[in-house]
């Protein structure tokens, strides 16, 4: 079982009522990701968390969750405020691609987290869900995609889908979002996660309710 260590127990929503930006990373760890892709993905995720922790506002405002799909679906890290995430285990690649189930779990967790924010009287920005995959999903993904896209249409979540490598299916990935899926250029995981942490930093410095435009993605995507 992969786990991230959580530095502090206790309810951060009570002690730290900073407006939250939830960021769910839903990541393909199927067998085809073995080798360089999973290495770079691991490094990228670690870098993402480190960069958030280095930024004063983002460290207290951004909550990260990690859900993987490779063989089975696993919530490797439940929503945790960046400054409380400390260390992690590596993600390993194996198995098929249960993308639909992973998205369903992510949506369920996101909705539960919003309910917790409301209960604690904590404001929140529109959450992000980042879906990354290097290949076609197992069958039965269509309803999950429809559900997520409807949430994006209702402005309940910002969904960003990223295809990895030559086997990624951008058409399928695009079904999960209101935006077209992007293709990661080569193995530019570091560049992608740097873009993502900078985007989160900008959001966490804005006022909830003010729309923050996505920065240009040309540092990591294919045109």
């Amino acid at each position: 079982m992969n786990t991230f260590d959580i530095a502090l127990l206790g309810n951060d929503l009570i002690e730290n009522p900073t407006a939250r930006c939830a960021c769910a990373l839903v990541l393909d760890t199927s067998g085809s990701m073995d080798g360089e892709p999973i290495e770079q993905l691991n490094a990228g995720v670690m870098q993402f968390i480190e960069e958030l922790r280095r930024d004063d506002f983002a460290s207290c405002a951004v909550e990260v969750s990690v859900i993987t799909f490779g063989g089975d679906v696993e919530e490797v890290l439940p929503f945790t405020t960046a400054y409380q995430i400390d260390g992690c285990d590596r993600l390993n690649a194996s198995g098929s691609t249960p993308m639909g189930e992973a998205v369903d779990l992510a949506v369920d967790r996101l909705n539960r987290r919003k309910a917790e924010y409301k209960k604690s009287g904590v404001s929140y920005y529109q959450p992000w869900l980042v879906l990354m995959s290097d290949g076609a999903p197992n069958s039965g993904w269509e309803e999950s995609a429809r559900r997520l896209r409807r949430m994006a249409e209702e402005r309940k979540v910002t969904v960003l889908c990223v295809g990895i490598g030559g086997g990624a299916d951008l058409t399928i990935l695009g079904q999960f979002s209101t935006r077209p899926a992007k293709q990661l250029s080569g193995m530019k995981f570091r560049e992608f996660f740097q873009w993502l942490s900078q985007s989160m930093e900008r959001v966490s410095q804005s006022s909830p309710g003010i729309k923050v435009a996505l920065a240009a993605t040309d540092s990591w995507d294919c045109v």
């Binding site: 009522p17 900073t18 004063d56 209960k119």
Partner: protein
């Protein structure tokens, strides 16, 4: 890089020490105490000659305001091509209130910060604001990022002054920016380019700032059940008011140390805050004025110094009987449903 004053005298400036959406701030070679704000060329183009006029009017107004407390435009500066590109101002130092009035960052940045420090700082802010109102200036975008606190000097500086609303030569140059969760309800949903801010709308935002500084950055309108902060703000649903919702129910004070922290404020301060956030939401005319805030804050300061009030920003125990004032309902606790 060089910039020029109106007389064509050149000044060498260094690389940017701060960047914002509108421009960047640069040190002036050989001068520790002054900086230059340069606007992005497309901002100058977009905002037109009115903007140059606004900054020039602010420079002319500088003698009438507390220039020691504000990073106020002092002289306009121009590029080598003679085009206006920004202004020089006093260099302001300190930690933004967005980090000071913060449950995690506050203790990290200002170890030992207590209610005496915060109250003194708030008195200075209210005095400066009162002075600006007297000179026909409204701040408009009052938010914790625009105040810098120097702990050792015990000083506050107001920054981003070029966004203020000023009236000069029969013209009002408006404030077109805002943080929606800090803004008075009467301005919500309006086109800020077409709306005049008022001292009363500033006073609403000021009260939110005062609350945040004394309550570890908590927003006054945060309540159980979510209820969008801006919605609560517009309706005057202030959970700490008298006759509030019982703990745990929808609309109540958030769980945790928040009620305890609030309870250690003085009766007068709580009264002013409750008044602003309930009646004062829909009725700008009843919002407490700077003079009322100063009286309450200075009285609180006196009580803190004499040990009558708890000094810690985060007290560990409830207010003791000896700290309670003569009023029967000193703590303004929410009553159980009557």
């Amino acid at each position: 890089m060089k910039v020029f004053d109106k007389a064509g005298v050149a000044q060498e400036i260094g690389d940017a020490i701060a960047r914002g959406g509108e421009g960047s701030v640069h040190p002036i070679a050989g001068r520790q105490s002054a900086v230059v704000k340069l606007y992005h060329p497309d901002v100058v183009a977009r905002r037109g000659s009115d903007f140059e006029e606004k900054v020039a009017a602010m420079c002319a107004l500088r003698g009438q305001i507390d220039a020691g407390a504000c990073a106020w435009p002092a002289i306009p500066v121009f590029g080598a091509d003679g085009a206006w590109c920004g202004y020089a101002m006093r260099r302001a130092e300190g930690i933004p209130l967005s980090k000071v009035a913060h449950p995690i960052l506050g203790p990290r940045y200002v170890a030992g910060l207590d209610r005496i420090d915060v109250t003194r700082m708030l008195v200075a802010i209210v005095r400066t604001l009162g002075g600006l109102h007297g000179a026909g200036v409204c701040l408009g975008d009052i938010n914790p990022n625009n105040f810098l606190y120097e702990h050792t000097a015990g000083r506050v500086a107001l920054i981003d002054c070029d966004s203020y609303q000023i009236t000069a030569g029969g013209r009002t140059h408006r404030c077109v920016v805002n943080a929606p969760d800090m803004m008075a309800p009467e301005h919500h949903g309006t086109d800020l380019k077409a709306v005049d801010r008022t001292p009363e709308s500033d006073l609403f935002s000021l009260a939110i700032l005062i609350f945040k500084c004394l309550m570890l950055g908590r927003h006054p309108y945060d309540s159980v059940g979510g209820g969008d902060v801006q919605e609560n703000l517009r309706r005057g649903h202030f959970p700490y008011g008298t006759g509030g919702v019982a703990p745990g129910f929808h609309g109540a004070i958030p769980n945790g140390p928040w009620y305890l922290i609030w309870s250690h404020l003085s009766f007068d301060l709580k009264t002013l805050l409750i008044h602003t956030f309930t009646d004062g939401a829909a009725n700008p005319g009843v919002r407490p004025r700077p003079s009322e805030w100063i009286i309450a804050l200075e009285k609180y300061l006196h009580g803190l110094a004499s040990g009558h009030h708890e000094r810690a920003l985060r007290p560990s125990t409830a207010k003791s009987a000896s700290q309670r004032g003569p009023a029967a309902n000193n703590s303004c606790a929410p009553r159980a449903a009557a």
